[in-house]
């Protein structure tokens, strides 16, 4: 047992932090929130060249041969910087899933382009009326038409679909129990996108599939039996969101403690008031525990160990810890923290969006309950 990063990971963290401090100012984040695409093509290419996109993929596809745990370190730094763009969609939702369930041929076809930053991927899973991440809420369907399949239905809250080249579509392939995952050409006929307006300024889309043809060769994994693969994808995504949140939280703790040291009221720094001290102590406890539970789950995923419970513990805990941390961060920052002049709101909005994504605390408490045999 060892709870510290390796030297290599520390180096990755430092490089990432420096790079993002340079390239991803809050001014840039604001621009991206207000832009149509939500990302910068130049920065995307730079990240590809740094090897970030390919970090956790095998060398034979052009990747860095590093692990999901290494990727977790990078995701934390991206959370710390509030990095906008399709990294999460392309790598965590798209690429890692193809690596997991794609055929060798599919991997050879898609992963190198992905890793080079040439193609953007995303996952089309949730639908209107979505309440929880269960198979029964998938109603978009693929019907067989000789050699090809035809997909119809509406997907909602699909990140970066408007700029994606490929969508991993989760669809119903049999009325009751059959779920399949198809890799659809995002620019093909029959697709309609609308970008939703969101709290975090990220680009979540409605995607309407109107009789979209997809060749049989684009089935990812096992037809009709895709749900267990989807569950794995959700797990990985949930942990990825936790990593981002840990980055959010760590930065907000630092900002808040700094502010408490500097800001004076009644002729003394507010951080010398015992109540403010205890607020900060509570924040630190939540941040550390969020980090440990997140990295435990990331490590287990990375090692290929079964970790349904650990993922659930992490996502349930980190989401609620995040609410507590932000409540206190805002309370300590006072009025300046609820203006857009101050950076705090970037974190508040992103952490909340991450909490809502890929399962909330009640959803994962139910998972834990099942794991406990309740």
């Amino acid at each position: 047992m060892k709870l510290a990063l390796t030297e290599e990971q520390e180096m990755l963290r430092k490089t990432a932090r420096d790079f993002l401090a340079d390239k991803c100012s809050k001014k840039f984040v604001k621009q991206m929130e207000e832009s149509e695409t939500g990302y910068s093509r130049e920065l995307w290419q730079e990240m590809a060249e740094l090897g970030w996109i390919g970090l956790a993929f095998p060398g034979k596809y052009g990747g860095g041969d590093m692990s999901f745990l290494d990727l977790a370190v990078l995701l934390e730094e991206m959370g710390r910087a509030c990095l906008p763009g399709p990294f999460f969609s392309t790598v965590v939702l798209g690429g890692m899933s193809i690596l997991d369930i794609g055929s060798e041929q599919q991997k050879q076809e898609y992963l190198p382009k992905l890793i080079r930053g040439e193609k953007i991927f995303t996952l089309a899973l949730t639908e209107p009326g979505h309440h929880n991440y269960d198979a029964s809420s998938v109603t978009a369907k693929a019907t067989s038409d000789d050699d090809n399949y035809v997909i119809s239905g509406t997907k909602l809250f699909i990140p970066d679909a408007h700029i994606a080249d490929y969508l991993l579509c989760v669809v119903r392939t049999k009325p009751r129990s059959g779920i399949g995952i198809f890799l659809a050409d995002a620019k093909g006929p029959g697709m309609k996108y609308s970008v939703l307006k969101t709290m975090a300024g990220d680009k979540l889309c409605e995607v309407v599939f109107d009789q979209v043809p997809v060749p049989r060769a684009n089935i990812l994994g096992r037809l009709n039996q895709g749900w267990s693969a989807v569950q794995k994808i959700i797990q990985r995504a949930a942990v990825g969101k936790c990593c981002e949140m840990v980055g959010n939280l760590q930065r907000v703790l630092e900002m808040t403690v700094d502010y408490a040291k500097e800001r004076k009221q009644f002729d003394r720094p507010i951080g010398s008031f015992q109540v403010i001290q205890h607020y900060c102590a509570d924040m630190a406890t939540d941040v550390d525990s969020a980090r440990f539970s997140t990295y435990q789950a990331a490590w287990m995923l990375s090692e290929g160990l079964p970790c349904t419970k650990e993922v659930a513990v992490a996502k349930a805990w980190v989401g609620e810890a995040s609410e507590r941390v932000f409540a206190l961060a805002h309370q300590i920052h006072g009025a300046i923290g609820v203006t857009i002049e101050h950076d705090l709101h970037y974190y508040t909005r992103r952490a909340k969006a991450a909490k809502l994504a890929f399962g909330d605390a009640d959803f994962y408490r139910e998972v834990v309950a099942r794991e406990m045999g309740l």
Binding site: P128, F157, K197, F266, Q331, G334, A335, A357, D360
Partner: protein, 385 residues
């Protein structure tokens, strides 16, 4: 002990409800969270004034109705329940009018009270400054005597409703040599005075929520000094107790409460035990908070200024509002993140607006920390540290 309302009070409540429901039916506005402080609607304010519902408790001499504080509470409770756009008259009605009534000269009362009552004088508050925060006595804006005038220089911030305020209730230092609490005075400043300028600030919800207000050699006639010179700090504490005391602290986002309960019912989510439990808990907290606020009104009814009672009800209520917004977000799930105007946005974006907006409720008009200090020392007699 009596927890009921009199027949007249019930009748008044019905009257207010009928009025508000008709306003909505007529399409004048729709229920909105935070409308008491962000809903600027001069027409609505005029119609409320026509009914005599501004300055309800003030003496008839000055255009008021001389009615009881409970009546006023019923009025504001219904305004908030329906999310009515009452921001134009809220500050004048709630506290500046009261300050003038308590401390102002007869001349000031005659000049302003009837106009507030008619919905013709909109007020903003000039208390906070960039550095002051909870430490209001540290304010730096200065007012220097010059013949029959004071010349005011400085900056105020977090001024709600400032962009359309016609007057500001300004606190400025009149004796720089005196101990901090003893050299501050209160003035009414016409917003059209030369040297007054404003810059809007956007808050985390995307709303133009406050202004910075700048005073650059603004000349104010001495007759606009409110109360005693140098006694402004004591007057502002009194005013803050009123600012904290109202139902807006509990019901600022009530339209969301109504809407999320309705949403849960319509989507059968209210049949899920964990969600039922959360909504019921909110209802319980709401009903308890309401009693704490009625207590404050009864204190005023007895002719006392509210004190730790409003510190308690405000600290309690702002937690309730945060809790409500948080539960609503949880229930809406991924839909909660859609902003007002987005396709698919539920409840017109009220949950998200309240979730973000409620972060500020426990800061304005006394942070929760200051309020608990007040409770500990003023109510419980614990020693100051």
């Amino acid at each position: 002990m009596d927890f009921s309302f009199s027949e007249e009070q019930n009748e008044f409540r019905r009257e207010v409800r009928n009025f508000l429901e008709e306003e909505i039916r007529n399409g004048h506005w729709e229920p909105t969270c935070d409308a008491w402080v962000q809903g600027f609607n001069p027409g609505f304010t005029r119609r409320v004034a026509q009914r005599g519902w501004i300055g309800l408790t003030w003496p008839k001499d000055y255009g008021g109705q001389g009615r009881r504080h409970i009546d006023r509470l019923i009025l504001t409770e219904e305004m908030l329940r329906y999310g009515a756009p009452a921001a134009c008259h809220w500050f004048g009605d709630r506290q500046v009018g009261g300050a003038i009534l308590s401390f102002g000269s007869e001349e000031l009362k005659r000049e302003f009270l009837p106009r507030i009552v008619k919905g013709e004088a909109y007020f903003g508050l000039g208390m906070s400054e960039p550095g002051t925060g909870s430490d209001l006595a540290s304010l730096q804006t200065k007012a220097v005597e010059d013949g029959d005038y004071y010349v005011i220089n400085g900056q105020k911030t977090w001024t709600s409703c400032a962009s359309f305020s016609e007057y500001f209730d300004v606190y400025a230092r009149t004796d720089p040599e005196a101990p901090r609490h003893r050299g501050i005075s209160e003035f009414i400043v016409d917003a059209k005075s030369p040297g007054v300028s404003r810059i809007a600030m956007i808050d985390i919800t995307g709303t133009e929520a406050w202004n910075d207000v700048f005073f650059d050699n603004v000349r104010v006639h001495k007759k606009y000094l409110v109360g005693e010179k140098h006694r402004g700090f004591y007057q502002v504490l009194h005013q803050l107790d009123y600012e904290r005391s109202g139902m807006e602290r509990l019901m600022g986002n009530y339209p969301l409460f109504d809407a999320i309960v309705q949403f849960a019912k319509e989507n059968k989510l209210s049949k899920e035990p964990v969600i039922r439990n959360k909504l019921a808990q909110l209802q319980i907290e709401f009903e308890v908070g309401r009693l704490l606020i009625y207590r404050v009104a009864l204190v005023m009814e007895e002719g006392r200024a509210p004190n730790w009672e409003s510190a308690m009800s405000k600290a309690y209520s702002t937690e309730f509002e945060k809790h409500l917004a948080g539960v609503a977000m949880d229930i809406l799930g991924p839909y909660a993140q859609l902003t007002s105007g987005s396709k698919f946005v539920p409840l017109r974006g009220m949950a998200l607006h309240s979730y973000l907006g409620s972060k500020g409720y426990s800061l304005q008009a006394g942070t929760t920390e200051i309020l608990k200090n007040i409770l500990a020392t003023r109510r419980l007699g614990l020693p100051t540290s």
